[in-house]
Amino acid sequence: MQTPAPTDYVRATSVANAIALLEEHGEESRLLAGGHSLLPMMKLRVARPEMLIDINELDELRGIKIEGDEIVIGAMVTHREVLESPVLAEHYAIFREAEKVIADPLVRNRGTVGGSMCQADPSEDLSAVGSALKGTVVIENSSGRRTVELRDFHEGPYTTKVEAAEILVEVRFPIRPGAGSAYEKVERRVGDWPVCSAGAYVVVSGGVVSDCGIGLTAVGAEHFCAPDAEAFLIGKEPTEENLRAAAQLASDASDPSPDQRGPADYKKHLANELTYRALVRAAAASQGA
């Protein structure tokens, strides 16, 4: 039987209260969001917080809304809410496509956007989506809020710019009129982490790519993105040849490790092929196909 080590538990009553509790209890305290990463880690004793600060009751961290030209997703929005959000579906198909293959429906009912982002698993699908779309996160501490680019958010596997007495409160994505987006994942079985996933948005205007973003996960791409591939595509027609060349550059940006999910060259091949497929569909969607 796996059960977490003894710990204490307190429920935060507001974001400010959660921050105060983090300050009060120090390094050995952890925020408890959906718990679908933290509780398994506690069962394995990989994480041993002495105090859990439950933020599940904080309605101020819920909801998906539009503010100006940005989509704002609260940190405690669940994967299921992302999957079923009409607002997200209208602007970015990539969310629905990625969420459909993240974990399973029961886990999606409980797991949260903020939790996934802060867990920062090197194979996290949402991190690839966030990097592809060049989103930002808003982090709050006792002296206020700051905004960090998702492409500058990860300090390494499982570590982010969120400091000890801080909380990620929302994730923001720019709305790009005319953008098409798509997500591609290869997994060994339903609900598993990806062997490799790739996501992209493309804006085609006047017959050429005017804007694009490419995200990759599970293959060691720095900050889950492929900037050289993006730069290559700008100003070019979305032909098969150009999209293939960009996909090759995306694969070059990856640095996968061999593991039980496959050897490195197979993962590099997937990074190439999945990027290509995502680009093809994103470009077609942008052109209204």
């Binding site: 059960t3 538990y9 509780l39 859990l52 429906p105 029961l106 886990v107 009912n109 339903v190």
Partner: protein, 159 residues
């Protein structure tokens, strides 16, 4: 710490360690053994029940997190009107062999049908994709859920 959870409409108050998992609270503290406990690692779905109407894996939720919330377990499926169509479907279609996965499967099935009364086979398979059955090969489970969809609750028919 003291925790009060409304389980199947009844308040259950117990003193528990904060690390107590909801599945253990339900089975040991509330004495409701219908919810099974299998892998412990959010893989098998045997522990599936509802928290505030959402199907979740109760081995990955703390009892403390459910304090003040509503939990629904497999024991609530049967009502004064008789068996839930999902239960009847599992009987009609031989949807179980050893029965270990069955409570979790049925709780997901009822949750699915409450949200989507006419699911396609693909939607049914997607709904139970986080659950493992070592016996049936899933075919009869899918058929049982289809049977339940074709035989809605009397209350739903009247409504």
């Amino acid at each position: 710490m003291q925790v009060t959870i409304t389980i199947n409409g009844e308040q259950v108050t117990r003193d528990v360690e904060p690390r107590t998992l909801l599945v253990h609270f339900v089975r040991e503290d509330a004495g409701l053994r219908g919810t099974h406990w299998g892998c412990d690692t959010s893989n098998c779905g045997a522990c599936t029940l509802w928290v505030d109407g959402q199907a979740v894996k109760s081995c990955t939720v703390l009892a403390a997190q459910a304090d003040g919330h509503e939990v629904t377990t497999v024991e609530a499926l049967e009502t004064a009107d008789g068996l839930d169509p999902v239960q009847q479907g599992f009987i009609e279609c031989h949807g179980l062999q050893c029965g270990f996965c069955t409570p979790g499967m049925m709780m997901t099935a009822r949750w699915l049908l409450d949200h989507n009364p006419n699911p396609s086979e693909e939607e049914i398979r997607e709904a139970i994709s986080g659950q493992i059955c070592r016996c049936t090969g899933y075919k009869n489970i899918v058929e049982a859920i289809q049977w339940a969809a074709e035989h809605p609750k009397t209350s739903e028919v009247n409504a």
